[in-house]
Amino acid sequence: MTETPYRKPGCRAAGPGRTCRMAMLLLFPVLLLGGCGDGGDPAVRALQGLPEFCREVLPRVQAHQATLTQPSGERFGGTAVVGAVGEMADGINAFSLADYTSAQHQTFLNLMTLVRLDESLGFQPYLARSWEFSPDGSEVTFHLRDDVRWHDGEPTTAHDVAFTFLRATDPGTAFPNAAFWSRYREGDEGVEVLDDHTIRFRFQPHAEVLDTWRAMPIMPRHLLEDVAPADLRSHPFGIRCPVGNGPFVFQERRPGQSWSFVRNPEFPEALGGPPYLDRYIFRVIPEQSTLLAELLTGGVDLYVAPTPDQALRIQEEEGLRLLDFDFRSYVFVAWNSRRPQLADPRVRRALTMGINRQEILDGLLMGFGTVADAGVPPFHWAHDPEAGGRVAYDPEGAAALLDEAGWRLEDGGSVRTDAQGNRLEISVKYNTGNQQRQDVAEVMQAQLSRIGVAIRPEVLEWATLVEQINDPVRRDFDGVVLGWVTEFRVDDRDLFHSSGVDQPFHWSGIQDPELDLLLDSLQVVMDREAARPLWQRYQERAVELQPLTYFFYPRRLAGVNERVEGVRMDVRGEWVTVAEWWIPEAARGSPGEG
């Protein structure tokens, strides 16, 4: 531990070099892992232990960045630290897109998408300067900016976009969200590079075409062209040395601990110019109570998604601000209508009516959210706040519905039975490690027992749960508590369309011709006004059938230290304005001293 200290940003104080040597002294098995070596120069040592690819790429990025002049101005400077519970497992690899935090960092920090959303969720130019649709709606042509460079100095061109499209649609890549392009023509048919900054895509006309290009960041062709599609997911690019073109340049990742990014000084002025922050750090702190403590003491400037309990504490604290905003997630219980006791929509509706969702929301979520009724969240232009009128909390109504459906409560009994004497018992599964889902299951059990329904909560570890509920043959569940983040383009066909009843995600198993029709039309009617009544009807039908009991749309929470200015958040995400965050000079001291 007697190492020459170096203070310049970019050091790897806890990097493998040092710890490795320390460990070698301790026990020899570390030798098996190798990866330790000597090296005096921090910059060189920072590269040690990195794969070949990174050792080549990162110096290029550093070299290019060194040639750029840093902007000046009173807002420029300082480091902001964001703390969150989960690691960005997928990093900056758009081809393995999966988790929310990674996606946010890809789209708002390190990479760029063709288009982005404004506050009212309208599409705005980003990497693409402009675009036009062909009259029949089967082609879109993007005109790209010519002043965007990858962080190693290479220009970003239409070839990168084409490369991204081709790789993402290549089956070998196993890109999870392949549904983005399900209506696109395959391979080279679907894409045409007109010139270095113009590109055209071809597809069957469908709704919300641009949303795909809002979600899918463009990847650098010049770095990844030679990588076999099957290897893209585990390529070092993603988590060891991403090279983007966005406002922030990847600097360093301490596995399991932090990611840090620095300003990209050549980010186009037209898009807001270089960010104010010198440095942005994303810190993984897998413990919520610790995170709160860190926020309270200034260890982190921004706490992503505190629990509602903690939110109250943050509100009280001077110098901290609580942000709460609409979000795209919702929590629900999927009912397996293949099960005899759940086949009747009346039973499912009674279950929903028997649960006091508002009380749960007020009690456990501290009121941060709204009760959900159908899977169209409040941010969505077609959201119908009235849809749930018919399934409001009404235990008597629920009891009556159950009586009507043939489930009666014997005198003195506590569980309803049908004519054959079957008890109305429903197991509800949920996964470990998610307090909210567990809470929902437990409260549901308590509340439904009052109307004679026996809920058996069963907690399973995620992979097991997935296997049990997704396997079309097994479908080993009565109800399952789930929650997710929807896309901006709501598409519930995987959930409810009868054509997919044997597909993994068709948990409810309901088959309804009207719903099928609605789901299909929603995807192809391109005009929003024409689509609005369809959306309306879709939400009504969902309430009638109750394939799922929607619980609530929680509002997203964030605790922010007031020293960071310019932090605005909305349904687009926490990081949407990260390039505009700034810290007054007086408050810039090193992090951890706030």
């Binding site: 504490r313 409260v443 308590a446 069963e458 907690v459």
Partner: protein, 385 residues
């Protein structure tokens, strides 16, 4: 004390005699056996208090109660009768007026006698018995249904108060009731796990130790293998991946604990095997199985009793860890580990939610460890201090 006796023996003593007849523990107290007297007085007094305070529950429990509710009433009755009987037996053994010398039951087994001579051991035993009594009586004791949720808006995370002696949890459930019900899980888990471990460990250890040779070698390699792997990781893997029921968790806990017992038994058997009475058994023409079961094992099991006692504490802790990690007992069944885990999120505002169930764990485990220590000391005269 002497005066006391005279008073009771005097003319006004008729009432006193009647009192002594009814409450024999008084006689013990009068004779200066304060501790056993108080104990035999306190236990029935406590039980009676429960019976009186929860009288409203007694009849419905008997008539239409669930099994554990009926068991609670049965425990109450049996506890009352047996504590009276024990006190009465103690009273009868008291020396006659003016008689001197040691009093009370003297167990024949020297080990038991030594154990009962140790204050810490006896105290631990009492605590353990009390815990088990409490667990059995829980349906009568608990002020609320542990699953009953309060108002989610106003009734949650309440600090301790008259209504909720230990406050309420995040669903407004009464923490004391949950703590009481949680005791059952911990206590039963300890017993079942240790039973499994002792059974398996004894068989393996005895066979390995007595047979020797390659059988021993192979068995001990297996033992080494299981021991050298971090037990918790294995448990986590198995429990996480296969979602067993509570009973199975107990069995699995036992299945990962047996190697320690096997080692102890093997060592003991190997040393007892060399003792001359075992050689004598062989010389007398006994079959190996007879020598092992009748002569070797009974003389090898004393350390196993100690290990088992300590093992109960161990199993309770491990179950708590699993529950804490969300792998053990499934909510909403209250288990102390689960309660600590749930309380953890509220450490800043309601620290007692995590602290109190943890203390309960420590208390039980400490009691078992103390008992185990006392047993060990009882077995080893050199360590008696």
């Amino acid at each position: 004390m002497r005066e006391d006796r005279r008073r009771l023996a005097g003319p006004g003593g008729a009432l006193g005699r009647a009192a002594v007849r009814l409450v024999p523990a008084l006689a013990l107290l009068r004779e200066g056996r304060v501790w056993s007297g108080l104990l035999l007085l306190a236990v029935p007094a406590g039980l009676l208090a429960v019976a009186v305070l929860r009288f409203d529950r007694l009849v419905p429990f008997v008539v239409s109660g669930a099994m554990d509710q009926r068991l609670a009433v049965l425990t109450l009755v049996v506890g009352l009768v047996s504590s009276w009987w024990m006190a009465e037996r103690g009273r009868r053994r008291l020396p006659l007026e003016g008689g001197a010398g040691p009093v009370g039951p003297r167990p024949r087994d020297p080990l038991l006698r030594a154990f009962l001579g140790m204050p810490t051991g006896v105290a631990a035993l009492v605590v353990i018995v009390l815990f088990y009594l409490t667990a059995l009586l829980t349906p009568l004791l608990a002020p609320f249904d542990p699953a009953m949720q309060g108002d989610l808006v106003t009734g949650r995370l309440l600090p301790p108060s008259r209504d909720h002696l230990l406050g309420t949890d995040q669903f407004g459930r009464d923490q004391l009731s949950r703590l009481l019900y949680g005791a059952r899980i911990s206590l039963v888990i300890g017993l079942v796990a240790v039973t499994v471990a002792v059974t398996l460990g004894t068989v393996v250890g005895a066979v390995a130790g007595y047979a020797g040779g390659w059988i021993d070698a192979v068995l001990m390699r297996v033992v080494d293998m299981v021991i050298s792997f971090p037990r918790l990781v294995l448990l986590i893997a198995i429990v996480a991946l296969f979602q067993p029921s509570i009973l199975l968790i107990m069995v699995i806990l036992g299945l990962t604990q047996w190697p320690h017992i096997a080692r102890i038994v093997r060592g003991e058997v190997m040393s007892v095997r060399e003792r001359e009475f075992v050689v004598a058994g062989r010389v007398l023409g006994f079959r190996p199985s007879r020598v092992l079961v009748r002569h070797v094992l009974p003389n090898s099991l004393a350390p196993v009793v100690v290990a088992a006692t300590l093992g109960v504490g161990d199993a309770i802790v491990v179950e708590a860890i699993l529950s804490f990690l969300g792998l053990g007992v499934r909510p909403p069944t209250p288990s102390w580990g689960v309660m600590v885990a749930e309380g953890r999120a509220h450490m800043l505002g309601a620290w007692w939610l995590a602290a109190v169930p943890g203390m309960a764990i420590v208390a039980v485990v400490l009691a078992f460890n103390l008992a185990g220590d006392a047993l060990r000391d009882a077995m080893d005269p050199r360590r008696r201090t």
